[in-house]
Amino acid sequence: MDKPIYLDNNATTPIAPQVASTMRPYLEHLYFNPSSMYDAAAQVARAMSEARNHVRELIGGVPANEITFTSCATESNNAAIFGAVRALPKKRHIVTTAVEHPAVIEPCRDLARRGWSVDFLPVDRQGRLDSAEFVRALRTDTLLVTVMHGNNETGVIFPIEELARITKETNPEILFHTDATQTVGKIPVDLSEELQNVDMLTFSAHKLHGPKGIGALFARRGTPLRPLLLGGHQERGRRGGTENVAGIVGMGEACRLAGENLGASERVRAQRDRLQAELEERIPWLEVNGAEAERLPNALSVACHCIEGESILAQLDAEGVHASSGSACTSGSLEPSHVLKAMGLPFTALHGSVRFSLSRYTTEAEIERVIEIFPPIVEALRRISPYWDTEKASPRADVLHGQSCLP
């Protein structure tokens, strides 16, 4: 079989060859601790500082000391949320959304269990937030707002600029955090201009063709934040622990390349739009999640009525296509995607979702191949499904009329 077709870039991305080669010396002979007091160590520290510059350039040229390197976006999100909570112990109210990544939802749930008041804002059928709902949830004594920038499953982009402005106009002391793991490197993110009201922003390297095990937390100067990891003076005391030098250097190079390649996102968008249009034409009863919302250029989430996502993925995999699904059977839980549920996707399609996420390395030929193989896979599984009427090419009438259990 040919090279696998990798369309799971919202899960992780292949490391850019140039990133890997930039990292190599720091895994081999440049192993020195950047805090040490000899010239070889200072050379390592300089490489880290250069990497930090590349990272800050990608998000609007913010000051270098506003970037803290962490081990991943999950750590960054935890550091932002728990760090803010511990710095402002008197405030007890948090606003977030029902569709956040688990790295935000779980810390928020944990706080809710321990007595904080947390609002999980709903989204509409297209995955959009209603700014009026947001305003009603906001309180003048709110501690933290944490709302993701781009959704990992559907690619729907939230209006962070507007939400951060409303937050700061309500009370400049309310902290505004956004998980931008899916957007940095895919669309312009400028913390000096349109996102100037954002206090904290998180992302990681492996979503933009960098290595795993390295993430960043942007925290604007003056943001009250207690460190999550106490230890040495590394990262100006914001995160103790000897630096992951190779990871940091890799993240820097990945950010530099991502900045250079931001223009490629229009080509990626065209490929995504083509894939979407062709699948919609060839597959009856296909939902395109968030079709009417503003979306990441690389993401396409579809849901097939009457079949189950894991069995779709298994066959895609057999054809050498790597994708993912929000179906219950692909997760550890038995519950289908909380994002698609929050969007009110019909129950007949809730288990049949498939997410294709492209990258700048995706080719036309690969998209062509998916267009060719995906519809027959859906059709084969529908022939097996007791809910599908093959003759009418639609779900069986009784299923459509709301009868969820077999008669």
């Binding site: 009603r136 309500t170 038995l334 060719e372 519809p375 084969a380 599984l381 969820s404 259990c405 077999l406």
Partner: protein
């Protein structure tokens, strides 16, 4: 339509698939499926001869289990070779399934049909087939997927009860209790997956389930929101009731936080006044220019509103509008009013 996926038409495809199966060495989609499970799944979806997809026409028994909401469902049908005088000597000759579900749900359905056809069982003998027989036919299933085999056994049992009714057989004579049709109806314990207390109790005893994870793996109950785990009358209570209390204490409930809202000067009067000024003064002026205003919320002295119409969308104009609205409200309602555009 490209039918290539349905059948393996040539050796190249077959060897490609075999190569893929080899290379995977036991993992598929993150789940540890056995070689046999994966082979049966691929044969089934490719409609290989000898597989059992479909429905028996004019079946002698129909059984169904699961629902589209829960994520998997099975419709199982069989035909018997009718014995001329004694229905108890009927032999199942054909079994078919339609399945909505994941790899292991489809493989378990296929396994069920194979077991039955290979054994030439009478329906009463078929009742002895358990979910464990299906699991061993598949050479094992991941713990989290055991419920797929339970679904197969449940559908089979239902189909046999259906056969008994059609053939006028009293299963009690054969030593089996046919369940009352509404036996499993009752209080819903697991709301997410619509599972009732009688059903959960029956399965806990039948399958000797001792812990909540065992229940979830076997019948999915409690696998979604998990709120029924420790709730009164929930899974732990059912387990305690059947097997005696466990030693672990349920986690303590979080303490109620008392919320202190600062006393403010009659928010109601403030709101009424804002509404009045918007209706009488601001809205008519905006409407004259083809615009409108919608009050979204009020907190303390902050007024949130949507400015709509002709000028909305133009950043310069909306700033001017906001300032006009704010100034009017400051003058006529309260000097501390702030307006935020939403």
């Amino acid at each position: 339509m490209d039918r290539r996926i349905f059948q393996l038409e040539n050796d190249a495809q077959r060897s490609r698939l075999a190569g893929w199966l080899d290379q995977r060495k036991g993992t598929l989609m993150g789940w540890e499926y056995s070689e046999k499970t994966r082979q049966i799944f691929m044969d089934a979806v490719h409609g290989k001869p000898g597989t059992h997809l479909g429905e028996v026409e004019d079946p002698d028994g129909i059984g169904e289990h699961g629902s589209i909401v829960c994520g998997d469902a099975l419709r199982f049908t069989f035909r018997v070779d009718r014995h001329p005088s004694d229905p108890l000597k009927d032999v199942i000759t054909e079994a078919r399934y339609m399945t909505f579900g994941c790899t292991s749900a489809i493989a378990a359905s296929e396994a069920l049909c194979s077991i039955i056809e290979e054994g030439s069982y009478t329906p009463v003998e078929a009742l002895k087939i358990t979910n464990e027989d299906i699991v061993s036919y598949l050479e094992g299933l991941p713990q989290q997927k055991i419920h797929c085999s339970v679904m197969g056994a449940e559908a089979l049992h239902e189909a046999v009860f259906d056969w008994a009714e059609r053939r006028g057989v009293d299963l009690k004579d054969a030593g089996f209790e046919a369940p009352e049709s509404d036996e499993d109806e009752g209080r819903i314990v697991c709301q997410c997956l619509s599972l009732s207390e009688p059903y959960i109790r029956r399965k806990v005893q039948e399958l000797n389930l001792r812990t909540i994870p065992e229940i979830t793996n076997a019948i999915k109950a409690g696998g979604a929101c998990e709120s029924c785990h420790q709730a009164p009358g929930g899974l732990q209570d059912i387990l305690d009731d059947i097997w005696g209390p466990s030693e672990t204490e349920p986690p303590s409930k979080p303490e109620e936080e008392s919320e202190s809202t600062p006393e403010t000067l009659s928010p109601f009067a403030f709101m009424k006044k804002i509404e009045q000024v918007i209706d009488e003064d601001i809205r008519p002026r905006l409407k004259a220019d083809g615009g409108d205003i919608e009050l979204v919320d009020i907190k303390d002295r902050i007024v949130y509103c949507r400015l709509l119409g002709a000028c909305a969308g133009c950043p310069g104009a909306s700033t001017t509008l906001k300032l006009m609205v704010e100034q009017t409200l400051k003058n006529r309602v309260h000097k501390d009013v702030r307006v935020i555009a939403v």
